[in-house]
């Protein structure tokens, strides 16, 4: 046991050192890619909180992502001298506020209705964001908002500083989301996915529990959106609220594996890798992406995580057989 712990600590420290040194090794471009990867991982994980752990599929999760982005961008535009952390906080709070407003409506439903209701609200928000161009900048979005300094320089001119900030916040988010799955509440969440009726008969209130999960999920999506806006110094309707932004985490989660906590992260990694690679070799991003989706569904219905765990099982059973 003790041995295990020290190994763990060593691994953690090694990981931290690696992450700290990373930008100096791989350069700005790949550093930005790592930030984007971390952002989308948090976004996908926040969706999986609903989908994988509570069984609620949302076709409008971009709403919270976008609210996070707009909240932060507007705050930085209108409040002079606002620091980074409060700005991200305002973004997350905006997303949470939206979730609180929607929750009484959406917790009543599940399944297709839940997905479609979110499609509707997501689209509504998208169109409204375009219409309120005086506030949101319409198609242009809000760009070039002042970037607060974290240490000495402004964040926008120092991608490395931004990297550290983003990685700390996002790492914290991932840890928190992971932690939630380990709490009693996380257990109830999984219970709802498996058998909402039984949860009800055990004395838990299903709608209220769903609402809390919903708000939490929105909170993390909001943070992801906020950091996304900061990383690009731009928040736009299409880029943050568009339909694709709602489907992105779903597909990434699907590729990675819905059931497991780390599946979505794997999915995002694959997604980003493909995105980076495809563009180098072919212009037919659509073709490659489409074929991959088809292949994953046909041959890896449980996603990469499912595939890996079944592979591990097989290996394990083989080694067991060898032993006996």
């Amino acid at each position: 046991m003790k041995n295990n712990l020290s190994v763990k600590i060593i691994l953690w420290i090694a990981g931290l050192i690696l992450l700290t040194g990373l930008p100096h090794v791989i350069g700005i471009y790949y550093t930005n890619m790592v930030v984007a990867f971390a952002i989308f991982s948090v976004f996908a994980l926040s969706l999986n909180m609903l989908l994988g752990f509570t069984g609620l599929l949302s076709f409008g999760h971009a709403m919270f992502f976008g609210m996070g982005g707009y909240g932060t961008a507007l705050a930085l535009t209108h409040i002079p001298g606002l620091a980074v952390i409060p700005a991200v906080g305002i973004g997350a709070a905006t997303a949470v506020l939206l979730a609180l407003i929607l929750s009484p409506l959406v917790v009543r439903v599940s399944g297709t209705a839940f997905a479609m209701l979110h499609l509707a609200f997501g689209q509504l928000l998208f169109v409204v964001a375009l219409k309120l161009y005086k506030i949101t900048g319409g198609e242009d979005g809000i760009g070039n908002f002042p970037m607060p300094g974290l240490f000495t320089e402004s964040l926008s001119t120092s991608p490395v500083h931004f990297y550290y900030l983003a990685m700390i916040i996002l790492g914290l988010c991932v840890w928190l989301m992971w932690f939630v799955t380990k709490t009693p509440f996380g257990q109830i969440q999984v219970g709802i996915r498996d058998n909402a009726r039984r949860i009800d008969y055990l004395g838990y209130q299903v709608p209220q529990t769903k609402a809390v999960v919903y708000v939490l999920s929105a909170f993390f999506a909001g943070i992801a959106g906020s950091l996304y806006g900061l990383s690009h110094n731009l928040v736009s309707a299409e880029g943050s609220l568009g339909l694709w932004m709602s489907f992105y985490p779903i597909i990434a989660t699907m590729i990675g594996g819905v059931g497991s906590f780390f599946g979505p992260i794997l999915g995002v990694a694959v997604f980003q890798g493909i995105d980076e690679l495809i563009l180098r070799y072919t212009e037919s991003t659509e073709l490659v992406m489409g074929v991959i989706l088809i292949l994953v569904v046909m041959f890896l219905p449980a996603g990469l995580m499912g595939f890996i765990s079944s592979l591990m099982l097989r290996l394990k059973s083989r080694s067991c057989k060898n032993q006996s």
Binding site: L130, Y133, G138, D140, L234, G239, E283
Partner: protein
């Protein structure tokens, strides 16, 4: 209606129609040179004689050099609904690259370097645009951005250009606010015309040259560019056409499916001209559906010039459209040997292109906006050549205040304080093939058989349509419209 009044009306109508036909005939109005206007003297010009043999150029299979090259990233949509735009731009820039590469490249920093053109797909999404420009800057280490369709994308290109000190050539995007006090970037050059120039130019044409229609309806796409365009046109009308009346103003969403409700509204408003800044595919669909509904009103436009759409709509449907392009100078088009040489080289070459979209009639003629894009690119390369370095600061120094003569004689000047191009504009009216010989003075004396196209071109002098200057921009404070 009483019999007598019918009689009167028909006589009146005959008179009106007769006079319209009479005064409309190109002989009366064609290209009366304006006097007392300031002409721009070219510092450099495009020399067709130096042009390389282009007989092996095919935009579908461009020869792309690698190694130590001058890199131009064409930032445009290569996928999504506007993918076509990217393909057009790419071909135009490739032409220039091919030509210069065959000449041996450009001498920069003491070494002759070839030009490498890279596709940068912004997928019509701002975030993707940000991503792809960053990659072009950091990974491909390009020297030039070349863009693009949509002011929101150009803004991002300019931002990235400023951040990584890359020259951004704006060859196609018209928004005026790109180079205003907040958005100005010394690395960005607005080398084409801008919304206010076009809108005021159109107003000038209707108020000062044509002087017929008085009722205008504005129909634009519902985003920053469309709204700005509408504002500018209203401003232009006040300035150059005070009797004009705006009978309606609408903004439709991008990539709209059904224009009928708008068109019905326009019809009911009694409008005589529809002013639109729509680009493809919206522009084409708008025209098509209007004609299908029997609405034959003229469109005053910038982008309703795509030959495929025009052909589809037919001669009748396209008659009377008025178009402004950044290329037109005057009629007839081919006044010099050089111009004809350039034109025929292109045309002969295009006939060999077998793959879509380059084999389609859209690429048949070297004219209009597409020709302007080629010329703008030559201009930028000429600046680079004269700067003799890829150092952006040296390029900026040469380009500021530079002026360049296109193959057709049009001269464009780069205003130094805010990097906006000053130029005369040509408003053209689309006429049926048999009348096209006014503009098309070489065989077969018409542009397209199945569509109305460029007829007489009316020049709007540069000083009437000087690009808007933001006086809040420090560099421009106290300067006149010429930046002097």
């Amino acid at each position: 209606m009483k019999r007598s009044s019918v009689g009167f009306l028909s006589v009146f109508l005959a008179f009106v129609v007769g006079s319209v036909v009479l005064f409309n005939s190109p002989a009366v109005f064609a290209a009366k040179p304006e006097k007392n206007v300031k002409a721009i003297k070219p510092v450099a010009s495009f020399d067709v004689k130096k042009m390389a043999d282009m007989s092996d150029f095919d935009p579908s299979n461009p020869i792309t050099p690698s190694g130590d090259t001058i890199k131009i990233a064409v930032v445009a949509a290569f996928s999504g609904p506007s993918a076509y735009n990217g393909q057009i731009y790419y071909a135009m820039v490739q032409w220039v690259a091919h030509d210069i590469n065959k000449r041996g490249g450009i001498l920069v920093d003491g070494k002759k370097k070839l030009i490498e053109v890279i596709k940068a797909d912004h997928q019509s999404k701002v975030d993707q645009c940000k991503k792809v420009t960053e990659r072009m800057a950091l990974q491909e280490k390009v020297h030039f951005f070349w863009g693009t369709d949509g002011s929101h994308f150009m803004k991002i290109i300019n931002d990235t250009a400023r951040k990584y000190k890359i020259i951004a050539i704006n060859a196609t995007c018209m928004s005026d606010d790109l180079q205003n006090a907040t958005n100005f970037s010394p690395y960005a050059f607005h080398a084409t015309f801008s919304t206010e120039m076009v809108a005021r130019g159109m107003a000038y044409y209707y108020g000062q040259i044509r002087k017929k229609e008085k009722k205008f309806y504005i129909l634009n796409q519902d985003y920053a560019f469309g709204r700005q365009f509408a504002e500018d046109f209203k401003k232009g009308l006040q300035e150059y056409h005070p009797q004009a009346q705006l009978v309606g103003e609408d903004f439709h969403k991008l990539f709209l499916t059904d224009y009928a409700p708008y068109l019905t509204k326009i019809q009911a408003s009694g409008a005589e001209v529809i002013f639109t800044g729509d680009w493809l595919p919206d522009a084409g669909n708008l025209l098509k559906q209007a004609r299908q509904m029997g609405i034959m009103l003229p469109f005053a436009n910038v982008y309703v010039d795509e030959p495929n759409y025009l052909n589809e709509t037919g001669v009748e449907g396209t008659k009377g459209l008025t178009n402004i392009s950044a290329y037109y100078d005057s009629t007839p088009f081919f006044k010099t040997k050089e111009h004809i040489q350039m034109y025929t080289t292109w045309k002969q070459q295009q006939a060999k292109w077998k793959e879509l979209p380059y084999s389609s009639i859209a690429f048949q003629h070297f004219t209009a906006n597409a020709a302007a894009w080629v010329m703008t690119t030559y201009w930028a390369m000429s600046v680079l050549e004269r700067a003799g370095s890829t150092d952006p600061d040296k390029i900026i120094k040469v380009w500021e205040n530079d002026s360049f003569e296109y193959i057709n004689g049009k001269v464009v000047k780069m205003r130094s304080c805010d990097h906006k191009a000053i130029m005369d504009l040509g408003v053209t009216e689309y006429v049926p093939p048999e009348q096209q010989k006014v503009s098309m003075n070489i065989e077969p004396f018409y542009w397209f058989k199945n569509a109305s196209y460029t007829g007489p071109v009316y020049k709007v002098p540069a000083e009437k349509v000087l690009p808007w200057m933001d006086q809040n921009l420090d560099r421009c404070k106290g300067k006149n419209g010429w930046g002097e």
